[in-house]
Symmetry: C2
DNA sequence: GTCTATACGAAGATAGAC
DNA sequence: GTCTATCTTCGTATAGAC
């Protein structure tokens, strides 16, 4: 990923304009999706001046979005890997769902998943985003399928069930957004957990 | 993409310019989402002239999108109601999935669900779209939950399982798009069908 | 009634002032 | 190195010609 193009020794970690813009882009991706995330919107949200974007992201809007997705995907992946390392399947799912319930409520049901935002839009001009999203989903799938295998699911069933879980949680988050209620997420997760418990292994 | 016969300078004045524009808007919603669906794009895809939009849709872009969602939602709802009337749960799901596999392949994994496109974007300027989408999802949920109840699921489990199904199918379609393969949809649906079969009633 | 021409603003990008 | 001013293109909408 893009390394710091600065010279000199250990630069102090200042509250970087670059990091701020990436955070703003992630927020916008969550709420407005890819097409809805304009440079203008990010600038308005962060208060950064216009030219700064092209100083920090020579590739312009495309690079800003790409870096935002990588950053968001990295953080979410680490979280999922931690949850799937320290819990059994039902617990991991429940903790993940709890975080999403909170995000939904705190954003007034406006914010969704920034990685999923890429999956629901075909953008001819930025195919690299699709590749990045695919990799991130694969990482989540790997973590979850591994957890299921460690809990005695056969590999093929674990793989399918991991896919179902990712699809269902992402889908339910979207339904919860439009319905302005966590009920779809709650219901989907409850059934999934029942599935984990009763599934033949 | 709307089929457009190129028969010289004079386009055949076909069924209805209005219907053609709605169809074009639906196609664009499927591929590019709400923010990505501009009037320009619909015009380019349909070959309709600029002013026609505001003649047929005095409410402009907002009305065009609203009518497109209503039309698409109506067609899809009738299909789902038919499938859930004439089949058992596993069959209905399989037939619905088969249609989506076909759509994914034929669109080269570019087209998704036009109603779901609304659920994944928060658009402050068009809240009526969210309401329309909510109603359509409710209609699908009703049809599916009813089918499950008729197949001996208790009402509360049927309701949750219907939510899980809608969320999982929509989520899996998106994953299939970005992954350019029907595998996510196939896997999610196979697990769901197993769930239908083994679930305690 | 259909379409062309255009006004007006938003958005991506760049040049150059400080 | 940061920001402002500006170019260009795209997008929504309207006026008005035919």
């Amino acid at each position: 990923m893009a390394a710091r193009p600065r010279t000199g020794p250990a630069r102090p970690r200042l509250p970087d304009a670059r990091q701020t813009m990436i955070a703003g882009a992630i927020d916008s991706l969550r709420v407005h999706g890819v097409s809805g995330t304009s440079v203008d919107r990010v600038l308005a949200a962060t208060g950064a001046p216009r030219g700064s974007v092209y100083h920090h992201f020579p590739g312009g809007r495309t690079q800003l979005l790409g870096d935002a997705v990588s950053a968001a995907g990295g953080v979410m992946s680490e979280l999922i890997e931690q949850l799937t390392r320290d819990n059994d399947p039902a617990q991991a799912l429940e903790q993940f769902a709890a975080l999403w319930r909170r995000t939904l409520r705190e954003s007034d049901y406006r914010a969704g998943c920034p990685v999923f935002a890429i999956a629901v839009e075909t953008t001819e001009d930025t195919p690299e985003l699709a590749d990045a999203a695919t990799e991130i989903f694969a990482r989540w799938h790997r973590a979850l399928a591994g957890l299921l295998v460690r809990h005695d699911f056969p590999a093929d069933r674990a793989a399918r069930l991991a896919t179902l879980t990712v699809a269902a949680v992402e889908g339910a988050i979207a339904l919860s957004r439009v319905q302005r209620s966590t009920a779809p997420l709650d219901d989907a997760v409850e059934e999934l957990r029942g599935f984990y418990a009763t599934a033949t292994r």
